[in-house]
């Protein structure tokens, strides 16, 4: 039986390379990426996010353009091969930032794969999102374009579903990221005697209105270290008072917080393919 990757490589000759690790496809545009995913589907080839002996490694690093900057809405539309550092540079020109603890050297694609690790989470500020829209390609090559319109009620949240499912549902090619005002951060650290106490304290800080830029809870022997970063500005003082009150009421003592940049950003484990996702993949393949 002929190796289908040979046909794939000849169809995308300018954007493929072969090595000991297998075939790598580095599309130069989102359209080419979508065509490649569709061709792979048609040929029965599996696309992988990392080099693999079987199938094709889809490398999105050439998708590195800034597509749109909407200063008024504090949105930036970028391709996923761009580094977070490049995104930050552009946002900095109008006083904005992603305000994430993730490393500036990782790509947007890697950031998404990590579940946007280091970004403010929904529990910290339910009103603010991290990703407002996207352009993705489904595994059978259909283009999924969700433009930003906050909190729409037009069926399932496909942006959330695509991000939560790794590459099981669709592969993001570009995203609309939500930026915030660039502000200095004030770090607080509290040592708790148990992880549960730290979790309860954090829940009540949030419940009383504290919206940390970032919070990190690290189990530490028998106890736990809660590190919290609050944005500088007029809200810092009242939020700091609530944080201190909730921590002390659970017997915590003030200590050095974790370093902000220490956030480990690694792709989340691929979601387990339960019967649902498997059937969806099968459905997509069988058209």
């Amino acid at each position: 039986m002929a190796d289908p990757t040979v046909e794939f490589a000849s169809s995308f000759a300018g954007s493929t390379s072969r090595s000991d690790a297998g075939l790598t496809f580095r599309p130069s545009s989102r359209d080419e990426a979508a065509r490649g995913v569709e061709a792979a589907h048609r040929l029965g080839i599996t696309m992988h996010a990392s080099p693999s002996e079987r199938g094709v490694h889809l490398d999105l690093s050439r998708l590195d353009r800034i597509l749109e900057v909407d200063e008024r809405s504090r949105l930036i539309h970028v391709e996923v091969g761009l580094s977070l550092g490049a995104v930050e540079s552009k946002l900095g020109t109008f006083g904005s930032s992603l305000m994430t603890a993730a490393s500036p050297s990782i790509s947007v694609s890697g950031y998404l794969a990590s579940g946007c690790s280091g970004a403010r989470v929904a529990d910290d500020d339910p009103v603010s999102q991290t990703v407002a829209g996207l352009d993705a390609v489904t595994l059978d090559g259909r283009r999924l374009k969700i433009r930003p319109a906050p909190r729409r009620a037009v069926g399932p949240d496909l942006v959330g579903a695509v991000l939560a499912s790794g590459w099981a549902l669709a592969i993001p090619l570009s995203v609309h990221l939500v930026a915030r005002p660039r502000r200095a951060l004030h770090a607080l650290g509290y040592q708790f005697s148990s992880k549960a106490d730290a979790e309860h304290a954090l829940a009540w800080m949030r419940g009383r209105g504290v919206r940390p830029a970032h919070a990190r809870l690290r189990a530490d022997g028998e106890g736990a270290l809660l590190s919290i970063w609050l944005e500088a500005g007029p809200l810092l003082s009242p939020m700091q008072a609530i944080v201190t009150e909730e921590a002390r009421s659970r017997g915590a003592s003030a200590t050095e917080p974790d370093p902000y940049e220490a956030e480990v950003v690694s792709p989340k484990a691929a979601p387990a393919l339960d019967g649902f996702v498997a059937s969806l993949r099968h459905g997509a393949r069988s058209g």
């Binding site: 909407d70 008024r72 809405s73 504090r74 949105l75 929904a122 500020d125 339910p126 009103v127 603010s128 407002a132 489904t138 259909r142 283009r143 999924l144 374009k145 969700i146 433009r147 930003p148 319109a149 906050p150 909190r151 729409r152 009620a153 037009v154 069926g155 399932p156 949240d157 496909l158 942006v159 959330g160 579903a161 939560a164 549902l169 669709a170 939500v178 915030r180 005002p181 309860h200 829940a203 009540w204 949030r206 419940g207 009383r208 209105g209 919206r211 944005e231 500005g233 007029p234 809200l235 003082s237 009242p238 939020m239 008072a241 609530i242 979601p271 649902f276 996702v277 969806l280 459905g283």
Partner: protein, 517 residues
Amino acid sequence: VLKSAPPGTDSLTRDLTRAMVSGRVSSDAADRVAYARDLWPRQQIRTRAGEAAIAPPAVVTWPETAEEVAAVVRFACERSLPVVPFGAGSGVCGGILSTDDAILLDLKRLRRLVRVDRDRLRARAQAGMIGQHLEDALDEQGFTLGHFPSSIYCSTLGGWIAGRSAGQCSGRYGKIEDMVLGLDFVDGTGRIHRAERDGENAALLPIVIGSEGILGVVTEADLRIAPAARDRVFAGFVFPNVSSGLEAIRQIYQSGLRPAVARLYDPFDSFMKRRGGIKRKEKKAGPPRHRAFPGLGMQALVGALKHAEQLNRVVSWTPDRVLGGATLVLVWESDRVLGEVEREEARHIASRLDADDLGEEPGRHWLAHRHSVSYRQSPIFRSGAFSDTMEVSARWDRMEALYDGVRRALGRHVFVMAHFSHAYPDGASIYFTFAGAAKDDTEAMRSYDRAWNDALAAAIEAGGSLSHHHGVGRSKAPFMRTEQGAAISVVADLKRALDPKQLFNRGTLIPEEALHG
């Protein structure tokens, strides 16, 4: 006139009763009529024209457990019978229309607050709980969900989740999708699934939330809760115009302030609030008066509504300052000190935009009357007119184009007002209220349909979304392809995967042809 139940309904009722532990099944005419529609205003026009039972199901069931829901779905799946999940029937988009062979699942007997975790600020509740009952049960223990849609007395937790509902305090607590940490649901084969935000089946959670009952039946949900608000902070401002009011909201949310409530009324809506709502003295307590025929005032209003386009023109020609400007109401629900600091910041922003400070009164008055407006629709329909609301959203740089475009499109057919009641750092929603009248119900229906079609097209054209929190139902389904493109086929895939026999709520959310595409 209710059509008689289709042949075989008696045996269906008997078999279904046996399949359920509680045996709560009915094919009585009264029950079938009661579940024959929701509150889609288009159906109210039809009802007024004499068509009371628009889409009655074959039978109505009242399951009491998730397992019983699953049993009913398995029963339907074995016989390929349609299933319509039903909360409280207060949807306004025609989302739960049955067919005469359908089994209707009324979930209101799933009505328990299962548990409250005081330490982690989480609660688990069954999907059939009426919103106010859920809020009361949480409040008894000192907590709130923070979700206050104006339908809170007549909508359920499951309905909120199905439609991605928004409450009046969305500025701090978010929408329902931001509050749900996990849920259980029954798929179209009768399997019970669990989906959690940071755990099992995480990708299924955003798929089921907002699926309007076409992918599964939600039976229970885990929710983020907060300490109940006991000490709110209020503010009110009047701006020269909508633009400056919107700019204030944008700056407030982008600067990190989170008033739970931020409502901006456009100059005419503000004028009406002052004349008829906010400043009006309380009427004497007592039962409301119901008239068989409209009074003179209402007759005059209906007469004017027949010339809606001219009426809109008069309003648009009236300078904003004559109408008194645009009113912004802000309410905070966090620790008092934090709320007060946020209010000071909001005052600075408003002041830079030439707003006059109205003090606490508009906010306090709004809170006291927060649910009143939702009960004014009946007199309008009784008088021969019609009314409806349309809620769309867009990012900030499209907001004024959306406001102008939709207003212009609606204004050709109906009289239109607007307010802005849900804001985020990247955009906001606009809530249009409109009313119209015609010489008879047939013409009223035509006028109603033209208004909606033009307005939805205008919303898409301006870069907005079809809906922010009412959902799609059948009313907007024909426009979904315009907004969503290929996403429609992905939702259809999801339906085929989760509901292979396509039993659930057909016709809702996605156009029927998308399922065959």
